[in-house]
Symmetry: C2
């Protein structure tokens, strides 16, 4: 059996290398590629993705998984190994093998084509705020997505198969139960904040010198423990983090006048993702388990750094005097308290990516509910904008003035990524749950006030990063906090934080 596992690791090594080669081409596409290179870049990526598909679905891997007794019931196989990560290795290989073998080449190609057309239509539709341009494309993509779910298979509902791509080993029902208990509480909490005195964040909209933004941002990255020995920070239209090698995890950002939302907190967010990918321990580094164990856990890392750390009072107690030195023209007359309140302003809004950490999860729950209805057929693509607007009114008390600021705002559905949205909210929930333990085990605030971020990194690395995908999201939660995902931590986190800011 040990021999089969070794062979499996040997065969899947190329899968990881190919993923990184693909990431290199994609990174280039988003950062430095000359504009006219786009056509062939797509062909190169399609070719490499095809080769990757052949590698992970190779009959040799199928045979080994068979020998190890891996199937839908026992994805980790039937035998115990002496090495603790081995069953996780089989399980993850089986998961990828299963998905890839069950999708026909025809369906994969159709999805690639239709989502590409659909994204192009979406860009046009959003520009003109005209849903009708996008509607026929979404119908096709949705139809293919349903076929995809059927091909992969599921236990309870087709949405299970879609969710599994982004949040493995978590069921639709688990997510729905958690969201259902969160939504009314959030709506009520936001209502209380609305009835309190609003904070002033007008300083945020001032003009912040871009080269100083970069220097300050890079200083924070360095303090977080990010090193240019194993990474880079470049510029792209949409910020992202990507892994090009086991010692090569790169971040991107964009610099705009608006320093805080898209600039500084964006960098800190991406760095949170990056530190996760850079922190995998020796037993998973460079192999198939060297990845975030789920997008929810990945997002928990970025959100911990962005919100729990980066928007905390203690963090700014250390950094704010420094920040004032960088931007005296904008910040000299703003006190630390007012600054802290300003960067934590809560306000119902229409656009998800600009939402504060209180209202954010409502944006997600809205999408999660709608996409489930789309997949089940309870909601038609034609009726989607109306459903969107009506839910927005229910959740936030506001109605989008047009579809560009409503149903057309996100790229996920145009690209066929149904099942992706919930992971953002799960990230916030996991972040609060993990952080509550971290704060008991180390003196987080004391460290932050001294500008020492490394204690936080060490804790996250030791508890989460080091494991890569060798523990599932639920296993991590159980091991670290003694229970599965529990939204009460998030509620408590928000209550504690915002009672100081809004007196609620």
């Amino acid at each position: 059996m040990q021999k089969s596992i070794e062979k499996l690791k040997e065969l899947t090594k190329d899968v990881v290398l190919l993923e990184h080669a693909i990431a290199t081409l994609s990174w280039d596409q988003e950062t430095y590629m000359p504009p006219k290179a786009i056509g062939e870049k797509g062909e190169q990526l399609a070719l490499l993705q095809g080769i990757l598909h052949n590698k992970i679905t190779s009959p040799d891997i199928g045979k080994l998984l068979d020998d190890l007794g891996a199937d839908d019931k026992n994805p980790a196989g039937k035998y115990e190994s002496k090495i603790s990560t081995d069953s996780a290795y089989i399980k993850e290989t089986y998961r990828q093998y299963k998905i890839q073998t069950r999708l026909s080449e025809k369906l994969v190609k159709e999805l690639a084509l239709e989502t590409s057309l659909s994204q192009a239509a979406w860009i046009k539709a959003r520009k003109k705020s005209d849903y009708s341009i996008f509607q026929p494309h979404l119908e096709k993509v949705l139809n293919l997505t349903k076929q995809k779910a059927e091909a992969i298979g599921y236990k309870d509902t087709p949405y299970d198969a879609l969710l599994d791509e982004f949040e493995p080993w978590t069921s639709t029902k688990e997510v729905a139960d958690i969201f259902q208990s969160t939504q009314p509480w959030l709506t009520e909490f936001i209502g209380k904040i609305r009835n309190s005195k609003q904070v002033d964040d007008s300083f945020i909209l001032k003009d912040f010198n871009i080269s100083k933004q970069e220097v300050f941002g890079r200083k924070v990255l360095q303090d977080m423990g990010y090193s240019y020995d194993r990474g880079r920070l470049d510029i792209s239209v949409h910020p992202f983090t990507t892994t090009l090698g086991r010692d090569d995890v790169r971040l991107t950002t964009r610099y705009q006048k608006d320093f805080f939302k898209t600039g500084l907190f964006g960098i800190i967010h991406e760095c949170g993702h990056g530190l996760y990918e850079l922190g995998f321990g020796d037993s998973v580094k460079g192999n198939l388990l060297a990845s975030g164990t789920s997008l929810g856990i990945h997002e928990s890392q970025s959100r911990t750094w962005e919100n729990v750390i980066g928007r905390s009072y203690s963090f700014w107690k250390y950094y704010y005097p420094e920040l004032q030195k960088y931007f005296p023209e904008n910040l000299t007359n703003i006190s630390l308290d007012d600054f802290y309140k300003g960067i934590n302003k809560v306000e119902p809004s229409l656009i998800r990516v600009e939402a504060d950490e209180v209202t954010y999860n409502l944006h997600i729950i809205l999408r999660f509910e709608l996409e489930q209805e789309l997949i089940s057929g309870a909601l038609s693509v034609k009726d989607l904008p109306e459903a969107w607007n009506s839910k927005t009114r229910d959740f936030f008390g506001i109605i989008p003035p047009n579809d560009a600021n409503g149903v057309l705002q996100d790229i996920h559905w145009p690209m066929g990524a149904f099942g992706y949205f919930p992971t953002y909210a799960l990230g916030n929930l996991y972040s609060a749950q993990f952080s509550s333990v971290m704060e008991k085990e180390i003196d987080v605030n004391g460290s932050l006030e001294k500008g020492s971020l490394i204690n936080v990194l060490d804790w996250l690395r030791d508890k989460i990063h080091i494991h890569g995908a060798s523990k599932t999201a639920s296993e991590l939660a159980l091991d670290i906090t003694g229970e599965k995902l529990n939204p009460e931590y998030f509620k408590k986190y928000l209550e504690n934080k915002y009672k100081q800011i809004y007196n609620v």
Copy 2:
């Protein structure tokens, strides 16, 4: 038959895409990669190279080549096609297929390993100027290189097989004959120059502001017709040009105080390579014939731009006043005539890459003669430094003070690239031959004096670039100049140019 060719083109499409994907990873390695990423980058490249090897040696391609009647005697196959580039397509596919199928996996891996070790040893040896560190590695590499030549096969001499990798369809004898007639003439010509009054190029060594260097360099690139729509200019330790896609050809440079040799003329040189790769016509673009037809022809393009154009009087008649505006502190007191003479100073020297265009080919002939003797066994690796020094004295009248400035100066042998050197000299010869026709067909000097470089590009594109590898080097020479490569053009070019500079 037409069907077989279409199928062949279909199957080899992936070869081109993979080559470009590999080029992307290599470009990243030389430009933006974080230092610690190097280990896995090597694994990724080895994997992709293995996949590429499997593609080009696929039995399907073998079968098609067989059907088309391609063999060592008839590499272009036995049938006539209606499409003129088809036989070239078969011939080039057969050439690559033959080389790749004849090299055993064992030999390829040994070569990869030993040349990698040998390069590391060479770096150390050059640093300490201690040949003994490098000698045992060169012995191994040479031995494997001989095995490689035997495996590939050849007509007259093992060197034929090595040369073919870089200068296809050109024999060792052809090159040797040409070099033999060139060497004494060059030695004599250099002797005459030595007896003339030396020109003053001290202004070249002044300090040239680096950001102004870049602006001026980019201005010349633009005037040459290079566009950032389909390319980039980045920084790397060693300047190079690389093709990442049919619409993506990138250059690199390095900026040093020494503006001219490594800076401006380096950029112009690389852009000459780049324009060739960007100029392939529709019938070859994006397929296996979309490459320089030989390194000699490639070098003819870079050298035409660098020397025939970039070091011409007419070119500077237009650009020199502009250059003086950029660097008044260094150039105000230097006349156009003195500048022109300075950038064309001829002087026997020890280092190939710093050599002027007159002495350059002697550096090549020296290496060509020595590497032939190494391959034939007439010269032992142990005796190489002595042979190097003695030939340097014969050719240049000087002896290297140490091996770092002698036998250890180039990376080609450490990396196993025997057969590469002659292509540099062939490039200079082809450049002179093509240029003599270009000057008859268009008013080169008139154009340059007006700062219009596009006429030159159009001519090169129409006569050379457009064909890619669909015409061999010899076919190009015949079609353009009515004869095969003839070194008399180069001699005439040098005589014409240097009689004005040195009165010889």
